[in-house]
Amino acid sequence: MPSKASTNIIWDEENDLLLLGKQIMEKQFHSLASVADITRLMKVLEKVNELLIKDLHATKREIFYSAVQLFGDQKNSDKSIEDVATMLYTTRNSTHIVASAKGSCIGRLRIRDKNDIIDLEGLGSGGWTISPMLDNIEILESDAEFILVLEKDAAMIRLSEARFWRKYPCIILTAKGAADIATRMFLRRLSKDLNLPVFTLVDSDPYGHYIHSVYLRGSKRLSYESPFLATPNIKLLGVLTRDLDKYKIPKDCRIPMNNTDIKRTKELLSEDFVKKNKEWEKDLKLALNLKIKAEIQALSTFGFEFLTDQYLPEKLTTGDWI
């Protein structure tokens, strides 16, 4: 099966994606060291076969409970699920094993979930919970002009209360933190089908920038799925380190970086895809020099409406993104 070791994860400069290389590893059926692994792998394959034949979906947790003694811990079943997808050269979603719903989406979009038409403007302030069963979802209609990806649910609530998409025709989505597979896959589908510009709004810290990078070119752990999950044309709208001075964010709203932040920023700066994007590199270096970070919520120091009435409109209309 394809090796998932870090030495086999390569950055495809042309397509701007983190991909799995060509290295192959072997798992022996008759070795004591790998017999447990192989048995778990076969169990997952058996379950995938059953799910596909019955056209059903199961969560990763359900797979774990299908053979608790064999898996021992959910980490083991999760690993076997990833191995199966890698071995089959497919995405985990295609195996009909899904994660629980996490992300949400709201705005100028109409979709179909099997036989139901869902209007994402008419679902109240919570929006539509992005279904992990994306094979049932189809995009029907939209008059949006861009897509906005938010790192945090708090920002989603702010934009949702302001009905931001009514004044600025857009589709807004969030994974409520780290980008999960369903949200990334749905974003990719939106971007590909609707061919709209995509922007991220994340915290001005290395973790926010990392989340942006995962949407942009995939994660190392799931590099075998990158071609199906990444949105390579996504732009980093904010909050940029340079914005903190530009928008005169008060000093007491800026947080000093800790050692982990500094280490993560340095790690990001060593990535080829950051080195290639000079503006991104410059902003990360600025953060490292100033040793400060800030959350999206720091913008509300000027009032709750500052984000929706001034910051976002100004950034979007002046093209101030990376």
Binding site: R110, R112, N115, I117, D119, E138, I139, L140, E141, S142, D143, E145, P169, D193, L194, N195
Partner: protein, 172 residues
Amino acid sequence: MKLFYKKDGGVIQLIDKEKINEWPIELPLIFIEYIRNNQLKSYTDTKVQKEVEQYLDEILKDVAIPRLIEVLEGNKDDEILNALIRIEELANKKIELVKPIKPYIENLLKKDNKDILKLSKNILGSFTKAENRKKLAEKRKIMQLKEREFLEGKINGEEYAKARKEYLILKE
């Protein structure tokens, strides 16, 4: 996606006809009805509204109706039955949507399958009811006019009674 360009630079995107072709047979009609009733007004640009209307008509003519007809003309009774169940639901919601397939439902009256016959009769009954409702609405207008003319002395009692009788027969 099919693109429609607004004068203000905005774009409206609707799913491609080819993709709709792969849907369950009743869904294209639901989609057409949904866009007509819920989205069309929001497009504001009259040129785009017309273009979208045309596109929806195209979907109806090229995808929705042919697919239903294909099933109704086939030999698989279970598929026909499923299609009829969905057609009946749509007929109860909006009879105009299924009007083009009326002749094909009439043909089904020749079938031996009792369930197909029952559903076909129900749907054709819905057509008759809808036609009667339309006629009654027209007659009601005439009746109101006659009433006014009678009160103003422009027509005599006999003429008024004749119109009234026609109206009441249709109403019953």
